[in-house]
């Protein structure tokens, strides 16, 4: 009750990012005066990747006095110049370096789910920040599928709450999973989303507005959202949360160095098997460089983290780090993300307002009547013209038919699902024979759906059609696709079933941690960003309070 009364008034306790940002320009204040550490200096923690996982870890520990360097493969953005309100012009935001995809159901990468540059993929995510449900942490016990986590929802809960204040998250009181409220009231719902919401009500499906990490009200120097609809192209407004605005300003103010354009090549170990730093290459240079560190945290996400571990071979670890039992790169997951669009008599102009607006987690958990384990969530979305063209051509329309459907764009509105696809050992990242310009083998990602996955996706597509029909859609178009990435170096109870322990520590290397989405054993049907941040926040707390056995780590402080 008190939480509701205080909506709009609860700020985070230990993060000043919102005040450190400049109202008039989007460059990070503090970038030009940021700390620089010599490569020979053994920093307390070297982080690989300035995305959701790495940035939160850095911000938290910098506040505890740790001396930290982040290596980021991509550029340090100047959003005023580098980011544009334009789909095709946003190509640079994505991880466009070559990767090979295979399996029976290959997954599109690049703009679909892979970011590059300071701020990571959250620079171009949709802004959607739901929590995982408590059931996600024990699907094997409860549902007989997937895996159990070595940690529980309860251990993440305080970190979810703190991050929701930091982003800050706007949304209605949330009735699903662990019921909770949000610090900011929900954004206004566009007409395009209201039409779908009405259809859901008609079907007896409950939907709610939010949760999105988008400013709705006053929040330090971050402005209110202007509903321009280009969340996926990088928020030039600074209204949408990404580590670039939520954690890195505070990290810089506390002595973190972000070394951009620096691609990690290998984690190096000493003779005793302890990590001593990372070899990396700067963009445009051929020379390999080496940064010393007392501990290393890899935060490169589900493709690059396994790739770096697999490439870090030595006589002691001939198959790469954490991989003595052939676990690295396995159990990579994506979510089924079919979307259906409906045509309505009035203009909808769905390109206005944030792409996700209202959603339902009513189908999240297992319902035996449905004939498969686990479930899906439902979210409204709003593709811009190029995204809309992909919807149209997916149904085989080209030429005049394509143009006709495209001209009808303003009459359409779109709703999608996120299906929980199950972790499978053969859905994995391996190293291909082909090498990148730095001599590192490129990643190969194989993905195939199991029968449960297919049944889940089929069932949910029917629900979408039902909602559109109930809403009064005159015509529909459906595209089957996939979204997000998670897993690939999961946490577990031993090296035979995982890559890291419950403290994110790589089995066999006492001072090497993974702090990104790759450690998740399951994914639920929630967008992963908030959970990735919450995991890093928890890890940081445990490192800072020395709850992790540090005997072998010999950290400087």
């Amino acid at each position: 009750m008190i939480g509701n009364l205080l909506k709009g008034a609860r700020g985070p306790k230990s993060n000043d990012s919102r005040y450190l940002l400049d109202v008039h320009r989007r460059d990070l204040p503090g970038k030009d005066t940021m700390c620089r550490y010599p490569e020979s200096d053994e920093v307390d923690l070297l982080i690989v990747g300035a995305g959701a996982g790495g940035s939160v870890l850095a911000q938290r520990l910098a506040r505890k006095g740790w001396r930290i360097v982040i290596l980021e493969a991509g550029p340090f953005w100047h959003p005023d110049e580098d980011w544009v309100s334009d789909e095709a012009g946003s190509h640079r935001l994505y991880w466009n370096q070559k990767r090979i995809i295979g399996g029976a159901d290959p997954i599109s990468l690049g703009k679909n789910n892979s970011g590059r540059g300071v701020g990571g993929s959250m620079v171009h995510y949709a802004g959607y920040t739901p929590r995982f449900h408590p059931s996600d942490f024990e699907t094997l016990t409860k549902d007989g599928v997937g895996a159990d986590w070595p940690i529980s929802y309860g251990e993440l809960k305080p970190h979810y709450e703190e991050l929701e204040r930091e982003l800050p998250v706007a949304g209605q009181n949330w009735p699903w999973g662990d019921p909770h409220s949000y610090p900011f009231s929900p954004h206004p719902v566009s007409g395009a989303a209201q039409v779908l919401w009405r259809g859901a009500i008609e079907m007896g499906i409950e939907m709610r507005a939010g949760p999105v990490g988008i400013v709705n009200g006053t929040f330090g120097n971050r402005p209110h959202c202007i509903y321009r609809g280009y969340c996926l192209q990088g928020c030039k407004v600074n209204a949408k949360a990404s580590p670039y605005v939520t954690h890195l300003p505070d990290a810089l103010a506390h002595g973190v160095e972000i070394r951009a354009d620096s691609m990690a090549v290998r984690v190096e170990l000493d003779d005793a098997g302890k990590a001593i730093g990372v070899t990396y290459v700067r963009e445009g240079e051929a020379l390999e460089r080496f940064q010393r560190a007392a501990a290393v945290a890899v935060c490169g996400y589900s493709i690059e983290t396994p790739r770096l571990l697999l490439n870090s071979t030595s006589p002691r670890f001939p198959n790469g780090l954490g991989n003595s039992e052939d676990q690295v790169g396995r159990y990579v997951m994506v979510q089924g993300a079919s979307q259906s669009a409906g045509r309505f008599p009035d203009e909808q102009r769905m390109y206005k307002a944030p792409p996700p607006e209202v959603s339902s987690e009513q189908f999240y958990e297992t319902d035996e009547d449905r004939g498969f384990a686990r479930g899906f969530s439902i979210q409204t979305i709003s593709p811009l013209p190029i995204g809309w063209a992909e919807h149209v051509i997916a149904e085989g329309h080209f030429g005049r038919a394509l143009r006709e459907y495209m001209r009808d764009y303003n009459h359409w509105t779109t709703i999608g699902v996120l299906n929980e696809l199950l972790p499978q050992p053969e859905n994995r990242v391996t190293l291909a024979e082909e090498k990148d310009p730095y001599g590192v083998p490129v990643a190969h990602f194989a993905h195939s759906r199991c029968e449960n996955d297919k049944a889940n996706m089929e069932y949910s597509k029917k629900i979408l059609k039902d909602i559109l029909q109930a809403a009064g859609a005159q015509d529909t178009l459906t595209i089957q696709r996939y979204a997000h990435l998670i897993g690939g170096a999961r946490m577990g109870t031993g090296p035979e079933n995982s890559v890291v322990d419950a403290d994110h520590r790589v089995w066999g290397v006492p001072n090497l941690f993974l702090a990104d989405g790759s450690v998740c054993p399951t994914q639920g049907s929630a967008n992963p960003a908030l959970t990735i941040m919450a995991l890093s926040s928890r890890l940081a707390e445990r490192l800072a309070t020395k709850q992790i056995r540090a005997a072998a780590m010999e950290l400087a402080r």
């Binding site: 789909e87 703009k111 007409g191 039409v195 102009r349 080209f398 030429g399 006709e404 495209m406």
Partner: protein
């Protein structure tokens, strides 16, 4: 010329038509303001480029560069050009001027090596895929219609070949080096991105365009048009209607 009908009625959509085929676009008025591809006027009085002064400088630079005189081709060869043009024309129904320079925009992306970050394991590099597809289209034109190239076929035959391409149902010397369905996805992804990145195409579909720092505030359902936006085609006299729309 346009017949009397309301856009609330979806009868123009191919899925809803008895023969499932699109109508000739002549049911729509001619564009009256700004440019659309082939001057098709579904939003006859809307020109997104009249709003450029409200865009941020970086966005304006990126978008208006697409209006520069296109070409010359740097990636595709003079031999490949006719089939490439014919294929893009059929794919996007650009059978008359003014045309969005899809060919040049795709060429520019390939020449600059701006690839999309993933490659199917059963496919070559996207650049090689495009070359093989053009060879494959010529081979199929020869095999099916006895023509020297895809470009030499009449438009009905070209459409038939593209339809088979979309269905993944092409075979022959160049096609065996590709997964035809994946090749369709690679080529259409790039061509569609080129076409719908162009402000003339935004005019055609009535898209409001970039909106920073201006923002969108008319989220609907009742108030749906920003001051710079215009409704879909009507049969009303634009001279009488347009002044009332000035936001």
């Amino acid at each position: 010329m346009s017949e009397k009908r309301s856009l609330r009625d979806p009868g123009h959509l191919p899925n809803l038509r008895p023969d499932k085929r699109p109508r000739d676009p002549s049911w729509l008025p001619r564009q009256r303001r700004g440019i659309t591809p082939q001057m098709i006027g579904r939003y006859p009085d809307y020109d997104v480029l009249e709003n450029t002064e409200n865009w941020d400088e970086a966005t304006r630079r990126v978008v208006t560069a697409r209006l520069d005189p296109p070409g010359p081709l740097r990636f595709f060869t003079a031999q490949e050009e006719p089939t490439l043009r014919a294929f893009c024309e059929v794919l996007l129904a650009q059978d008359a001027e003014p045309r969005v320079p899809v060919v040049e925009l795709v060429d520019e992306k390939l020449a600059a090596g701006r690839l999309d970050g993933y490659e199917y394991e059963d496919m070559p590099d996207d650049r090689q895929t495009w070359r093989l597809v053009l060879q494959g289209l010529d081979g199929t034109a020869q095999e099916w219609h006895g023509k020297a190239s895809f470009a030499a076929c009449d438009s009905e035959d070209q459409e038939g070949i593209v339809k088979a391409f979309a269905a993944g149902a092409l075979a022959g010397e160049a096609w065996v080096q590709l997964n035809v369905s994946h090749a369709w996805e690679v080529c259409t992804r790039m061509a569609l991105e080129a076409f719908y990145s162009h402000p003339w195409a935004w005019n055609e579909i009535g898209f409001g365009g970039p909106a920073y720092p201006q923002g969108y505030m008319r989220l609907g359902p009742l108030s749906i048009l920003e001051p710079h936006e215009r409704p879909g085609a009507t049969d009303e006299d634009p001279v009488r209607v347009a002044p009332e729309l000035q936001g």
